[in-house]
């Protein structure tokens, strides 16, 4: 799409995450934007700062039994279970479209075993059109390999495993690495530091909070998998705290997410220390919201006579 050239230097919303240059700090979160094409016709995808694709694994996964989503007060629970067609199908069928968008494509990778991550990184290293990797070590519903049982433990609930996985990916690729962390821990800053020490270029905060919903008349859970991950406006205060807690303990940039609906939510995440933000659940409700927020941020900068959003980052007055 050809856009009219502006005469004056436009307001500068650009940010850098690792080696990825984004024209604005607004991204879409993994698992809420499919592989981009799903939103064609509903918005101008090429205006996003970056796109993070649905988490992929080495081999195809069929995901969890339905029902997989349920609405809860000001939010939703999901137990998708990382359904995807595997990395080869991604490269063949999804990447060609993503490549044409002209924005940084960050590929979210997941796995059940430590070695899965480096293998994925190596595979994606060799293809064009991938700007960076988001290591999803925070999705519920993965198998605990040591005990060979289904477990609710996540890699990113353990700082040693976090360090190990990030480091293995760092060795396997020169691509920008973002590590996505779960907030379901006692001390998220400790895990964040482990990711930084392992060589992560940035952090994504937060993945969903584990939760449940049930039907009292049948006494059955409303999700096929019993429990799932909570997202949406309901988790925003929790997510803000996670970002603030981590901001003071790391030097790498944070991508803040969790319940962002409006521009003010974005500003709150920036003030708590996020360099960029991602919209998740909101994409389902208002597919064009990320673009409206980008326009809003431009207006915000202008009307506050700022040159960029940088002065906001971590500016919380305590």
């Amino acid at each position: 799409m050809v856009r009219p050239k502006t005469k004056r230097r436009e307001t500068d919303l650009s940010v850098k995450i690792g080696r990825i240059k984004m024209k604005n700090p607004v991204m879409v979160a993994s698992g809420t934007f499919g592989y981009g094409k799903e939103y064609e016709g509903l918005m101008d995808i090429s205006r996003l700062g970056a796109i993070v694709t649905k988490t992929i694994t080495n081999d195809p996964r069929s995901g969890n039994p339905p029902p997989r989503v349920v609405e809860t007060p000001f939010g939703m629970l999901n137990s998708i279970g990382l359904e995807n067609d595997g990395v080869d199908a991604f490269i063949e069928e999804k990447l060609p479209y993503l490549r044409k968008l002209g924005i940084p494509v960050i590929v979210s990778i997941g796995g059940e075993e430590i070695r899965d991550f480096a293998r994925l990184a190596k595979r994606l290293n060799r293809v064009s059109g991938v700007a960076g990797l988001e290591i999803n070590i925070s999705c519920p519903n993965i198998r605990d390999q040591r005990r060979k049982t289904r477990s609710r433990r996540l890699f990113s609930q353990d700082k040693n495993l976090t360090f190990k996985i990030v480091k293995s990916v760092r060795r396997a690729t020169g691509l920008t690495i973002i590590t996505k962390l779960t907030p379901n821990v006692t001390d998220v800053a400790e895990i964040a530091r482990a990711a930084q020490d392992g060589g992560s270029d940035a952090l994504s905060l937060v993945n969903t909070y584990m939760g449940m919903a049930l039907d009292i008349s049948t006494r059955k859970p409303l999700l096929g998998n019993v429990a799932g991950g909570l997202s949406g406006p309901a988790i925003k205060p929790l997510a803000l705290k996670a970002v603030w807690d981590v901001y003071n303990h790391v030097s790498i940039p944070i991508i803040g997410m969790g319940g962002i609906v409006e521009i003010n939510d974005v500003l709150e995440f920036l003030i708590c220390g996020a360099t960029a933000v991602a919209l998740g659940t909101t994409n389902f409700v208002y597919p064009n919201k990320s673009i409206e927020i980008i326009d809003g941020l431009k207006y915000y900068i202008k009307s506050n006579k700022l040159k960029s959003l940088k002065p906001l980052i971590g500016s919380l007055k305590t």
Binding site: G31, P66, R68, F74, N78, T281, V285
Partner: protein, 262 residues
């Protein structure tokens, strides 16, 4: 697929807890096919948060209608929306009934509706009546009681043969619509080139699928699953099929009954 702020032309109660809303949305109605659906933001604001799916009930030039049952917060909010207001809708979505492949032969269409499941079947009946010559069609409508039997007149107007069943016996056959269907189909010896289209609760659809299989009739069913996005992005609306999980919103909501693992 488009996101439209459609003007509400009317939003009227048609029976206890049942409403019909008419929307002006030329770009959506132009592309809409029977069996497809829209995602509706029932209220402005964040409560309830997610959009709700509704099938096309009538498709006209410039307009479309939805027929809906109030069952929770979303549909309650929708029922309070006023004429003249704008409703945020995304559509048309999904794959509809394979109505036009019927064009090749004189068709005996058998429509089976359970409760609010009549909603998409009227759109289908109108399409069949207007595009297929020498069509014969029967509609089986079932509901808990006579108050909840909807659209009888609309189907009659199209020349459909009407069969009704009320579980409490307050009208027509007393019992399940699927029992009535079985009874009628087995009473007739020849039902040439028949095809069954069904929409309703899952148990009913399964029963219809079984009947169709035994009679060797092709059968299409419109399924429901909880949805978050409606566009294939969240992978929330999975249904089990013979070839793995399929998404109701994108691969359906209409499926060949034989492909579903019930």
């Amino acid at each position: 697929m488009r996101l439209v702020k459609a003007k509400i032309v009317s939003n009227k109660k048609v029976a206890a807890g049942r409403f019909k809303i008419r929307l002006a949305a030329p770009s959506i109605s132009k592309a809409a096919e029977p069996g497809q659906f829209v995602m509706v933001k029932c209220s402005d604001g964040l409560d309830p948060l997610l959009r709700r799916p509704f099938s096309f009930h009538r498709i006209e030039r410039g307009f479309f209608e939805l027929l809906y049952q109030v069952i929770g917060r979303g549909t309650a909010a929708l029922s309070e929306r006023k004429k003249g207001e704008r409703l945020d809708v995304i559509g048309p979505l999904g794959n509809g009934f394979d109505a036009l492949s019927a064009k090749r032969y004189p068709l005996n269409a058998i429509l089976v509706a359970g409760g609010i499941g009549v909603a998409p079947l009227l759109a289908l009946a109108e399409r069949l009546a207007h595009s297929v010559e020498r069509i014969a069609f029967s509609i089986f409508i079932g509901a808990r009681n006579k108050e909840h039997l909807l659209c009888e007149k609309d189907f009659k107007k199209l020349g459909a043969r009407l069969y009704v069943a009320a579980e409490d016996g307050s009208k027509g056959y007393k019992g399940l619509v699927t029992d009535l269907l079985k009874k009628e189909l087995y009473a007739k010896r020849s039902t040439l080139n028949a095809k069954v289209y069904a929409c309703g609760p899952r148990d009913m659809l399964k029963a219809v699928a079984d009947i169709a299989r035994l009679k060797h009739f092709p059968c299409e069913v419109s399924l429901e699953e909880k949805m978050a996005c409606g566009i294939g992005a969240c992978l929330g609306c999975a249904v089990k099929t013979l070839i793995g999980h399929k998404m109701v919103c994108k691969d359906g909501p209409v499926f060949n009954a034989g492909d579903i693992i019930w």
